[in-house]
Symmetry: C2
Subunit: 211 residues, 2 copies
DNA sequence: TCACATTTAAAACGCACGTTTAATTTGCAG
DNA sequence: CTGCAAATTAAACGTGCGTTTTAAATGTGA
């Protein structure tokens, strides 16, 4: 028998990833989960806490796995931007342990988390996994010694934006692509197409560096 | 004497660009504009119509100006991705006619429009200015004959995502950058930093093209 | 089986929102 | 000045939300 708490989590993940956090009401979630409305507040305390619980379930798998991959690469004598970015693929695949469609779900949740409650997720992530994020940044810096920290900071966030937009708008974009020139794109394929784009963007020569 | 309708538009632009469309209530707008709550529905019919009016005011300046720039470049024997992207800078500056801080306002509005009401803005833009968008796409294609339409489609939307994220999260990111390593970034500077990133990402070699 | 803590259930609360109504004020042509 | 349309105002409406309350049902250890 499936516990009420688990039914809520599963339904919340699904609806949050499809429509965003604020656009999803507790009534939709409890209806989808086939549980009573009040049980969310009983088991999680508030909607905000439910959101954090949903995110934490994925973060606690993804970020430690990312840390392992980064440390492995850090032992190499040298590495490229692409190498560092590729460290994310295995941890993403590891999210299948959480849920069969975990990788897709997580990327979408990330997108909504950043675009809706910008500050909260970043604070939570930095508090619990700040050293992983920091390490990632340092390795990108090592792979691109010609770039200033400031330029790198912005380019990493441009990359984040590209990824989040692709995930959140992914379904709509896939439909447009299909209608415009009849080529379908798989959800997982989007992330693979993203990597060379982001890698080239990050490593681009900085025009300002000539100053 | 400033008309009520104009006071509403000015206040709405400001608040929409700061907090997004859905996060901004009509009560906030009418309070900021110092007009009666009901006057929005009297002058614009609905909140949705107000949003469209706000967006249209910028689109009708930006997109025709972009068309002019693109046509000028198209007459050249050849051009690069950067050249095509640079066509956007003058039309952005032209938005100062609409409002002193028009360029910044417009980019932020774009960001929220895409992340909140994804379908609507695209539909509106394509209906009224579809040929401009189409022309932009074709010129990027011409500048990158080695890339498939599918790859180009996704990379252009990655670029859009990078820009929108930078604008919407721009204020928060600027504060983080300042706190993390003490370097301030101007709002207008963000767009300039974006161009080389996006240009390199779009023109990157496509690993899939080897297949 | 009994007593007690845990969990579920139905209903209501208070709040903020976009919108509508109806009355009043304002602007202006004849 | 008069009369009428346009504009403004204050108040209320209906809806959906997250949350709380109170009672009933369920599970559990002695």
């Amino acid at each position: 028998m499936v516990k009420t708490k688990d039914k809520i989590i599963l339904a919340a993940e699904k609806l949050f990833s499809e429509h965003g956090f604020e656009q999803t009401s507790l009534r939709q979630i409890t209806s989808e989960a086939d549980v009573n409305l009040a049980s969310v507040n009983y088991h999680f305390g508030s909607k905000k806490s439910l959101i954090q619980a949903v995110m934490a379930r994925y973060q606690m798998v993804f970020l430690p796995a990312l840390e392992v991959e980064l440390q492995r690469l850090a032992e190499q004598p040298n590495y490229t931007t692409t190498d560092v970015l590729a460290c994310m693929t295995q941890p993403l695949i590891a999210l299948r342990q959480v849920r069969l469609d975990g990788p897709v779900i997580y990327l979408r949740l990330l997108g909504y988390a950043y675009s809706e409650i910008q500050g909260h997720l970043r604070k939570f992530t930095m508090t619990h996994y700040g050293h992983v994020v920091q390490g990632f940044f340092e390795m990108i810096q090592t792979a691109n010694p010609h770039l200033s920290r400031k330029t790198l900071f912005w380019r990493l966030h441009f990359s984040l934006g590209a990824m989040l937009f692709a995930q959140v708008s992914g379904q709509a974009l896939r439909e447009i692509a299909l209608a415009d020139f009849g080529e379908a794109t798989q959800a997982e394929e989007t992330f693979l197409k993203l990597l060379p784009f982001v890698a080239a963007g990050i490593s681009a020569v900085d025009p300002e560096a000539q100053n």
